[in-house]
Symmetry: D2
């Protein structure tokens, strides 16, 4: 499960991402140069990926590690790999 | 340059993405299952990619096509390929 | 460490990928349609990602799980997350 | 259509990629460390992406630019955006 540190870290980042989304909407509204708009969308995408990685790290440290200790890691590892697979696509 | 249609389409999508970000923040706050959080972050990332593609399409239809007609496409195509390169990374 | 099953599975897939690379070289040599060439390159990229995921799964099942059982998962999990990060970029 | 320069460039890179695939197979056969295997697979994936970008650049410079000049760019741009979409997934 997510803990206080990962929670605070990811919520802070998502608050910043909200600001970046608003910034991108303003840039589009002002009809700024398309390549700048695309690069801004890409920067937000990267920021979101970092949030997902923070949560994934915490998930492995807690749920996956716990399951492994109890010799029942298989289902958790399968689920994790499927999640990574969706993410690299 | 971006036109009314691409502007409206991408702003509508970004408004929806804002809602999805808020939804993810709530899910984190409620300490929902990590894999669900990651999948939600991934869904938002996909939605952002679609916004970028709408803008890229419009960019090719206007700036790149215009430059090609005038026999000056090279710099615009270089810039576009660099943008795609940043995006697939 | 990699085991016999993951070894055999990934080597078989890499042999098939070698054939796909040769196929793409032939398609380029025959000057086939660019979009078909790009789609073929993309298919090979996907096949390579699946090889990486097979090895990653095995790595988690062995090294990461082992380290977690001994209460020393932290460094292994850090390393894994950095590897996933490089992969989604 | 692909031209001599893009053809030579992409074939040279694919020949190098073939060598990298063989190298990865040897690393797997020698049961090297999983993270090194994954990083090597990732390096090959990147090299493949560069081949696809070379072909995409050439495609835009020839087919897409040509179609734009004749005022018939729409279908070519649609096709290109769909190809980029498949690639960022």
């Amino acid at each position: 499960m997510i803990n206080e540190e990962a929670k605070k870290n990811s919520l802070n980042r998502l608050k910043r991402i909200e600001g970046q989304i608003k910034g991108l909407m303003r840039m589009i509204d002002e009809e700024q140069y398309c390549i700048d708009l695309i690069n801004q969308a890409n920067a937000i995408r990267r920021a979101l990926e970092q949030v997902a990685l923070i949560i994934m790290k915490r998930h492995i440290e807690s749920c996956v590690a716990e399951a492994c200790k109890e010799g029942e890691g298989e289902a958790k590892i399968d689920e994790l790999i499927k999640t990574v697979d969706r993410f690299i696509k």
